[in-house]
């Protein structure tokens, strides 16, 4: 057992604990409140918008697409999403108009006096081959010729809503014609890009303390920012937009629901020879991030298993529902639910221990993935599996099964950073600023949203400089004050941005000469500052030497590094009510060096909660193209009493260079839990959430 020297208290702990930290809605504000008038139809042509003559709109600021000076397109990948509906609406809830008024209570009232008429058009709510955003078709290897057993099953996963505790909030501060945007967000430069498209200008964007995000504040804040910007510009006043929880649940981005059919071929020992995957991902009305979610899903769907023939046909398709978006995991939770349930289904068919099916298919040096490359981490993966099985005592527990109790596992990974050439495209830049008092300021666009970036990034720099982290200050991301080190997504913050910071730090360190104590460090800085003008030390992303990716042939490394995970869940089912209790949970990881152990554990525990919710509790039901019951009383997230009684967390291989941890943990939770339920009751659940009702159906 190593002693933990990494767990310094997070730098923003005090202000959060004493309640003084100001989030977007806490900032002093004396302006107008914004409100979105949304489409009531899933697919329609807007025929007319009429304002009730008998209602006084004179004090309202009203904005429509006509007020957009630049382009009415939010720039994300396929550029198909308008900021405001123009001629057509494509989902219930699509923003059409924006209102602002000093008195919040009048906004709801005004809505009732705006009459929009529509000509309804046919709705698309299921997969249609002529309405797709992206298709990925790739085959690797040769179809097996020998006679084999086969199993084909379809797995489905639902929407998931982030329920960040702080609802979406954005403020536009107006100052003599200049507008500054402050708000809850993950990616200030995404917002800058969107507003530049909207207005033709680079607007100053600053992240305010953000009360949770999980991907839900990756692209949606760009819309929020566009709306307050437009209103602020027209009204020449400060404008604030906050979504109510109900509005947020109903209309903001969600995890993509998936339907994955896996057809595998294997011998009677369970050795896989072929895996075919047909993947359907519902993107909602506009493409936004769907193509990338699909790509990540495809790159994770076959795991790291040694399979000769892999054949994938994957679609992200359009429906007349609110666009889906990023949510921690970003396609990998969907992929591993299907894959890891399938492995257990194969085990069941063969009457084998599910761990043995995984064991016999672990990657070797010869294993080739769907994208034609080797598994660089095959050794670490094998080791992780062995350690996890040993420390959790999986085999013995599997044999000693009790009635209504079960054990299940999942083996998984998460590619860090942007896929393929994405990191090259981002071309991230970081900068360090050396101050007179020997403090070092970090300038990156990585945002703190609870995961601890404003603590761990300084820790990485401090470690490199061999000084106390208190000397390293993280600068609040403001697009006018920091370089663009890319968005805070994709588990790239430590792995990509942190590594770049280490590079920049090395440059700084090299200029300082030798020092062996903090005092000496300060002396060296003093000497340096007397004779040198350069205060800023930068580093820019460079593609790793042996990394290649061919998008057209879907071939290459996918990601430059992979975090690895193996989870085991022990469950008990109440035979009276069909409720599932997760009693013990073992979480094994290889993410290389752990920068801050307490924060890392927090990431795992939080992800276990979200994954447990995904598996058992969170049921976002759509009916007639909209969320049936968008209330937090009906979409229930786990409370303390829903958590596994015992959670054991281990990090292996902590000498290796650090890889991402933000998303990895959520990828493996649902399959481990559902596999445990399958084991407990000898059933084959292929859908989540496995609510008591859904479980009861399987037990008839």
């Amino acid at each position: 057992m190593q002693t933990d020297t990494t767990s310094i208290v997070r730098v923003d702990a005090k202000a959060k604990a004493d309640g003084s930290l100001q989030y977007s809605d806490d900032l002093p504000f004396d302006g107008l409140y914004a409100f979105i008038i949304r489409s009531q139809k899933a697919h329609a042509k807007i025929l007319s918008i009429v304002y009730d003559e008998n209602f006084d709109f004179s004090e309202f600021t009203i904005v429509s697409y006509e007020d957009i000076e630049g382009k009415n397109i939010n720039p994300i990948i396929y550029d198909d999403q308008p900021f405001l509906a123009q001629e057509y609406v494509k989902f219930i809830g699509e923003p059409i108009l924006l209102l602002a008024h000093k008195d919040k209570t009048l906004l709801q009232k005004a809505q009732k006096h705006i009459f929009i008429t529509y000509k309804e058009l046919p709705q698309t709510l299921t997969f249609q081959e002529d309405k797709i955003f992206k298709r990925i078709r790739k085959t690797k290897g040769e179809k097996p010729k020998k006679e084999l057993l086969t199993l084909s099953k379809t797995y489905t996963t639902p929407y998931q809503e982030h329920i960040y505790l702080e609802p979406q909030t954005m403020v536009a501060f107006y100052n003599q014609g200049e507008i500054k945007i402050v708000g809850s967000m993950q990616c200030p430069f995404y917002v800058e890009e969107s507003l530049e498209a909207l207005s033709g200008k680079k607007i100053e964007i600053e992240q305010a303390p953000t009360g949770g995000a999980f991907g839900g504040k990756e692209d949606y804040p760009s819309l929020m920012a566009a709306y307050v910007y437009l209103l602020s510009k027209k009204a020449k006043q400060d404008v604030k937009l906050t979504l109510s929880r109900t509005e947020d649940i109903a209309f903001s981005t969600k995890r993509h629901p998936s339907q994955i059919t896996l057809t595998s071929q294997f011998d009677k020992k369970g050795k896989l020879y072929s895996l075919q995957a047909k993947i359907l991902l519902d993107g909602g009305a506009y493409a936004t991030l769907s193509s990338v979610v699909l790509t990540r899903l495809v790159l994770h769907i076959a795991g790291f298993y040694d399979i000769d023939y892999i054949d994938v046909d994957a679609y992200a398709y359009a429906t007349n529902t609110p666009p889906n978006g990023a949510f921690r995991g970003f396609g990998a939770p969907q992929a591993f639910f299907a894959l890891e349930r399938h492995i257990d289904d194969i085990a069941k068919k063969l009457h084998f221990n599910p761990a043995d099916i995984r064991k016999i298919n672990l990657p070797t040096p010869q294993t080739k993935l769907l994208t034609d490359v080797e598994v660089k981490e095959y050794k670490e993966y094998n080791n992780l599996f062995t350690q996890a099985m040993q420390q959790s005592d999986f085999y013995a527990k599997y044999l000693n099964k009790e009635p209504n109790k079960g054990i299940g596992m999942s083996l998984f990974f998460h590619g860090g950073g942007f896929v393929g050439l994405g990191e090259e495209f981002l071309n991230s830049k970081v900068s360090l600023y050396l101050k007179e008092n020997a403090q070092v300021e970090i300038k990156v666009s990585s945002t703190e949203m609870g995961q601890g970036a404003m603590t761990t990034l300084p820790q990485m720099v401090a470690k490199e400089l061999k000084i106390d982290p208190s000397y390293v200050i993280y600068t609040i991301p403001n697009t006018k004050k920091v370089p663009n080190s890319g968005p805070t997504v994709s588990s790239r913050t430590i792995m990509i941005v942190g590594t770049l910071l280490q590079k920049a730090t090395k440059k700084l360190k090299n200029t300082l000469g030798v020092y062996n104590s903090t005092q000496e460090y300060e002396q060296q800085v003093s000497i340096y500052l007397q004779t040198n003008k350069t205060r800023e030390f930068q580093a820019q992303y460079q593609k790793p030497k042996d990394f290649y990716w061919d998008e057209e042939r879907f071939s290459g490394y996918g990601y430059s590094g992979y975090s690895l995970g193996c989870y085991i869940a022990e469950v008990a089912i109440d035979p009276i009510t069909f409720q599932v209790y997760v009693e013990n949970f073992y979480a094994f990881h290889d993410v290389g060096e752990v920068i801050n152990l307490t924060l890392a554990q927090g990431q795992v525990e939080g992800a276990i909660a979200q994954g447990l919710g995904y598996a058992l509790l969170e049921d976002l039901v759509y009916e007639n193209a909209k969320v049936k019951n968008p209330h937090i009383s009906h979409y229930v997230a786990p409370l303390a009493s829903d958590m596994p009684k015992n959670i054991k967390i281990e990090f292996l291989n902590t000498q290796a260079s650090p890889k991402g941890l933000g998303e990895l943990p959520i990828d493996g939770v649902a399959p481990a839990i559902i596999n445990a339920v399958a084991n407990a009751l000898d059933i084959e659940p292929n859908t989540i959430p496995l609510t008591p009702e859904n479980l009861e159906k399987l037990c008839r």
């Binding site: 229930v636 409370l639 008591p692």
Partner: protein, 260 residues
Amino acid sequence: MQIVKPTTLQEALELLEKNQEGEIFAGGSDIIVSLLEKKPNFLIDITHISSLQQIQQQKGQLFLGALTTINTLLENPLIQNYTPLLYEASQNFASHQVRNLATIGGNITNNSPVADLIAPLLVLNTQVVLSQKNKQRTIPLQELIQQYKTLQLHQEILTTFIVPFQNGFHYYRKVGMRQKLSIAKVALALYKTDTHTFVSANGVNKFVQRLSHVETLLNQKNFTKKQLQEAIVLDTNPHSKKEYKRRVLFNMLGDALSLW
């Protein structure tokens, strides 16, 4: 909107008689959203009437003021000692913070099909006291629960619940969407004395009521599993599909039977 805060029941009843369109305000934690939408002209805030918040016992009965909060029920040993079924049901009621605001009267008068306290109070043969200016009547709770959602109490205020001390076996089990702070999917309340078994459940009908067919069966000497299943169907809106809830009720009843 005008708000008045009577400090005695008499005051409140007089105000109610004088102002026909007045709405009673008892905290409203269950109905705050709809209340704000309704925008009544005249609100009679009865939360300052201390006589409505008392818990007393007399001659083998508990007298619970309608404005007793759920946490007050949990904190008063009389409830735990004499009406433990009500105590158990209160433990699974919403959350700690809500239990400090929610009242037993509010839960009953909101009359939700998933209300937590109606089923236990019904099987305990609770009576309610309804007051008007110069008039008071006491009727079984059962009679009050006639309509779906929010009882129209006209010009009456529900002031007191009269709950006889328990003298027998009870069973309570609630299944929600998660372990705590959840609207009920279904909950079973059962109370068995020497002479009779009383059964009620929420989540299975338009308004919470006693399960009469199940009761009839349980009060017989013998019955089969099939008969019990059929009785459950008859008592839970037979034309609707409710396989999960019916199966869970069946399981819970079996659990209760095995325990008594």
